[in-house]
């Protein structure tokens, strides 16, 4: 029956659909230089430049010597690269009576940030877990009060806290500042954790209760391992927030225990002598390095955690 073969071939030749098939087919071609792309990338480049140009200026200035800076070409790259300003900013710049640069402030900031972050997150995560899963009597009232706390301006509470710290003998010490940071981080962190734990299926919690687990066992064995993304978010929020804090640092500590930000301010805003722009720039970058590093390391986790907490509230 070779005829069928022939017939099929002939039929294909006069196929009424054939000329329609020669039209558009498959994936639609996309032009690289469409109006949409130009607009999109143009905006992105503009916004990126807005943020990157100051950073560029800071870096090049910090690498120049003072004679070169006096020429006034702030955008030109350094002719002669020098790390002198960085060394000076870190080790020998003077703030008041101390002439050991930012290093002192750096270690103070570390000593403030680490315990504050650990303590505030430890307490807030348990708070959030209790509020989300153990609907105790008055939980809603407690939560409302806590959230209202987030909206009261800090300035209102500065003086009462000064008195409070003085009374318990912690005024001017690093631990006093740790307590202040922990308390002020509580509302937002509790909200964050409560929302995250609310999004964990209730049945999981019920299953653990049927299995005989109590408050702490459910928290440590079931909830904690599931909450890693939100812990990363909380850690980033707290590290950057506490590291960048200036107000509490300047109020609740003494010159010996000033955090890095306060010291930076004292270096940059000193009115005596020549303004050493290169040292100022280096000092500023040094101070910003920690939050910057945190963002670079955990950027992906941060976005994931924010999204995870946002789905259900």
């Amino acid at each position: 029956m070779a005829d069928i073969q022939t017939l099929n071939t002939v039929a294909a030749g006069i196929d009424p659909v054939a000329d329609r098939m020669s039209g558009p087919q498959g994936a639609r071609p996309r032009r690289a230089l469409s109006r949409r792309n130009i607009f999109l990338y143009g905006t992105l480049i503009l916004v990126a430049a807005y943020y990157l140009v100051p950073l560029y200026v800071m870096i090049v200035t910090s690498l120049k010597g003072m004679p070169e800076i006096r020429l006034g070409n702030i955008f030109s790259p350094p002719v002669e690269i020098t790390f002198e300003p960085w060394v000076k900013a870190w080790a020998t710049a003077c703030t008041g009576l101390n002439c050991d640069g930012l290093s002192r402030g750096f270690w103070n900031s570390v000593q403030i940030t680490v315990p504050s972050v650990i303590f505030s997150i430890a307490v807030a995560s348990v708070n959030g877990y209790a509020l989300a899963n153990w609907r105790f009597k008055g939980a809603d009232t407690f939560f409302t009060i806590l959230i209202v706390g987030a909206f009261i301006p800090y300035q209102v509470m500065i003086y009462p806290i000064v008195i409070l710290l003085r009374e318990i003998g912690l005024y001017g010490s690093l631990w006093g500042l740790v307590i202040v940071h922990s308390i002020f981080g509580m509302p937002i962190l509790t909200l964050l954790f409560r929302n995250y734990f609310s999004s964990v299926p209730e049945e999981l919690f019920k299953a653990a209760r049927v299995d005989g687990a109590g408050f702490w066992r459910i928290y440590f064995v079931i909830m904690l391992p599931m909450a890693l993304p939100i812990f990363v978010v909380a850690i980033i929020l707290q590290i950057t927030g506490i590291w960048n804090d200036f107000l509490f640092g300047v109020i609740y500590t003494k010159p010996d225990t000033y955090p890095m930000t306060v010291q930076l301010n004292n270096i940059v805003n000193s009115v005596q002598g020549v303004k050493e722009y290169n040292v100022n720039m280096a000092a500023t970058i040094l101070t910003g390095l920690v939050p910057l590093a945190v963002y670079f390391v955990s950027g992906k986790l941060f976005v994931r955690g924010i999204a995870a907490g946002a789905v259900k509230g």
């Binding site: 999981l204 019920k206 299953a207 209760r209 299995d211 005989g212 687990a213 064995v221 391992p225």
Partner: protein
């Protein structure tokens, strides 16, 4: 001997009464299904039995022990949830052993119980996997295993098959039935799927608005519903309901419009003869064609819509100006507009008082 006994249980959320003075006695080894539409309180009742919800009134006994105020873990129950509720960061083995470790069961005993549960549920190859690496059916099996290893008297199932696709659901349904035959534990099973209820249950409790409408065997519930609600809820497609009234000279006949149905074979459970009644007949109890001639009642109807469903065909017709559905063999040829003869035996019907909605 009763395994679970619930006495006058009530539950209120503020002013809202979710369960109203509810009492059930469940025999040892019985498979009880709580069936009802969503929001009827069936899952809530199960949570109360499990101890996950504090009740407002009444008592709960399990194995003759008053557990009303006991913690879930002390009640001798195991629970299986709709969403599986497996601990995501633990392996299957970790999931199975979590409760036992919490209860400080010795290690070799834990290993023995896991081995047995894994053997019963055929999940031995999965023990080292995480829940995310399992299919829905496997997950549900692990969830059942978690209840199994606890060596409890009573199993509670909260819509365990609702998240599975239809085919898997049918497979696991049989497996749960097999499991019940093998373990002979008391099982309380919540579902909104009437096929699951009919196939699994020793007894079904049909609930509505926190009240048990009827508690009886699947046969009873299907064939002799106690009220209009149960009659309408059970069966898919649902029962045909026709409004009618008794013949004036006695009760041997019921009439709706021009149609008269003889009732001399209907098993009345009540002596009441209200003026308005509702007559219900299931689509599958209607015969069609020549066979209908031998039925005590037969009439001719016009076909409006035909719905072929493979094994059988559902026919929508008009009887006395009302919609009337009946089921015929899938092979029979039916066309819209045809006139066919149908008949049924009134003894298989249900008659309800139109005012009280109770069975007569």
């Amino acid at each position: 001997m009763t395994s679970v006994s619930i006495r006058d249980l009530s539950l209120k959320f503020g002013a809202l009464e979710v369960l109203k003075s509810l009492s059930i006695d469940i025999e040892d080894g019985e498979f009880l299904v709580l069936l009802g539409p969503s929001g009827c309180g069936k899952s809530t009742l199960l949570n109360c039995i499990a101890g996950l919800l504090d009740i407002s009134g009444g008592q709960i006994f399990i194995k003759g022990r008053n557990v009303t105020w006991e913690e879930p873990k002390d009640r001798g129950i195991g629970m299986v949830f709709q969403s599986y509720a497996l601990y995501p960061q633990m392996t299957v083995k970790g999931n199975l052993s979590f409760g036992l470790k919490t209860a400080k069961v010795p290690k070799d005993e834990i290993a023995r119980r896991i081995a047995r549960a894994a053997e019963v549920l055929q999940i031995e190859p999965l023990l080292e996997r995480k829940p995310a690496q399992l299919s829905g059916g496997q997950r549900q099996r692990v969830a059942i295993g978690r209840a199994l290893v606890r060596d409890v008297d009573v199993f509670l199932f909260d819509e365990p098959l609702s998240n599975l696709d239809a085919k898997l659901r049918a497979e696991l349904r049989v497996e749960i039935k097999r499991l019940h035959h093998r373990l002979k534990n008391t099982m309380i099973y919540v579902t909104h799927d009437q096929i699951e209820a009919l196939t699994l249950a020793d007894r079904i409790a049909i609930m509505r608005n926190g009240i048990i409408q009827q508690l009886a065997s699947p046969y009873e519930i299907y064939n002799r519903p106690v009220n209009l609600y149960v009659a309408g809820f059970m069966g898919s497609p649902g029962m045909n309901f026709l409004e009618g009234e008794f013949a004036p000279h006695g009760a041997a006949e019921l009439s709706f419009g021009a149609t008269k149905v003889p009732l001399d074979r209907y098993p009345f459970v009540s002596d009441e003869r209200p003026s308005r009644v509702i007559f219900g007949i299931r689509p599958e109890h209607v015969t069609c064609g020549p066979a209908s001639a031998s039925e005590p009642f037969s009439t001719e109807v016009e076909i409006e819509v035909v719905e072929p469903m493979g094994a059988d065909t559902l026919v929508w017709a008009i009887l006395d100006g009302k919609e009337f559905r009946f089921r015929v063999d899938g092979q029979s040829e039916m066309r819209e507009g045809d006139r066919v003869r149908i008949g049924f035996d009134p003894a298989r019907a249900s008659i309800f008082d139109a005012a009280t909605e109770l069975r007569l």
